[in-house]
Symmetry: C2
């Protein structure tokens, strides 16, 4: 029987931040922390933190707080960082190359094991030790390696077609860096909208500039 509680995506989206923060605490040899301290340092209310972590059964103890290592491991497990997910990158342009080089992914439990492109000038070249393969080899590769995740860094116009091709090959999750929102049946998709974060920065910059003006 499936007894797991459905956790809201808003909570899930906050978990990687806890995970990062706890990782830093571990590196500073902090062994335990209260929800109040977590709250102050992360800018989230203590009650929000307790509520978030309670979704997964707690982990905290009254009067003791949280054991940093235990909480770190548990959140890692919840997020699936113990799954040793393998991922391929489709699109060996600048973004694909930048991501293949992003050293944080392995720390989070993700391994890039294949890079694909259609450009014959790129096929056969090595990127961070991985030989770029033709997209025509993707089907066999995904089946042989049971790869579930594809990182899409192809030009805008090709995104949908390539995503559908990946889904047919057996890919179950797409991390999409093109500016269009993808929806593919039976495939989970995270659409990365880099400009969103830039616009938040622009808003905050506008805010401080206006404060300066009012201060005069």
């Amino acid at each position: 029987m499936n007894t797991r509680k459905k956790v809201s995506i808003a909570v899930v989206k906050r978990l990687p931040r806890y995970y990062r923060y706890l990782y830093n605490l571990l590196n500073e040899n902090v062994t335990r922390i209260s929800s109040k301290e977590l709250s102050i340092n992360m800018g989230i209310t203590a009650s929000q933190i307790r509520q978030d972590l309670n979704c997964f059964g707690g982990f905290g103890q009254q009067g003791y707080g949280y054991n940093v290592q235990v909480l770190y491991n548990e959140i890692g497990n919840i997020l699936g960082s113990n799954k040793n997910y393998q991922a391929i990158i489709i699109g060996a342009g600048n973004m694909g190359r930048a991501l293949s080089n992003y050293r944080n992914f392995e720390k989070r439990g993700y391994e890039i094991n294949g890079i694909f492109d259609i450009d014959t000038n790129l096929i056969g070249k090595k990127i961070n030790g991985i030989v770029v393969m033709s997209i025509d080899e993707m089907n066999d590769f995904v089946r042989k390696n049971s790869t579930q995740i594809a990182i899409l860094t192809v030009p805008h116009d090709n995104t949908k077609e390539v995503a559908e091709r990946a889904a047919k090959a057996g890919i179950k999750a797409l991390w999409n860096f093109s500016a269009i929102d993808l929806q593919i049946p039976d495939v989970v998709v995270e659409n990365v909208h880099l400009s969103d974060s830039l616009m938040v920065l622009g808003y905050r910059l506008k805010e401080i500039s206006e404060e300066d003006k009012f201060d005069v």
Copy 2:
């Protein structure tokens, strides 16, 4: 007197999504939309939408809904996309190149007008029509152009030093792609954590995999 209401950052973070969605509606020649329709299509409750937009004075009319063009313009103004912000990229590696080529930024009101690096092999080369300059030229460039935003795509270990150098040059906002959280006095910083979104994807993949198991 400053009569502006302080808007919570949670609301601000949702605005770019409205902005993107409204942009798509405009492209489909949709001229008006109710909060209910917005709600269904965006997966946000109608009351949340009304609440979000009320922070800035509304824009909707009972029984009519929202004028898409007006709402799009207003949200754009709130986010500062009418400010014609100029930004420099520091770090001409793969990520810097990928971002300099990201055609969405201009659509959102941001122009990349300079790229800097310390690598003498890159200095003088052109990336998307912009000549890579030495970081030693950054000070003069930022002052001359009154550039306020810097996009940081330098290696992890150099991030803090480069960020401080940019702040000294007069940069007021940093969009930081390195994996470390930056804090620089009097400078607004948006730290981009790409792995966070990958981990959310991993969580959702784990969820559907476990559902499959329970379905058997």
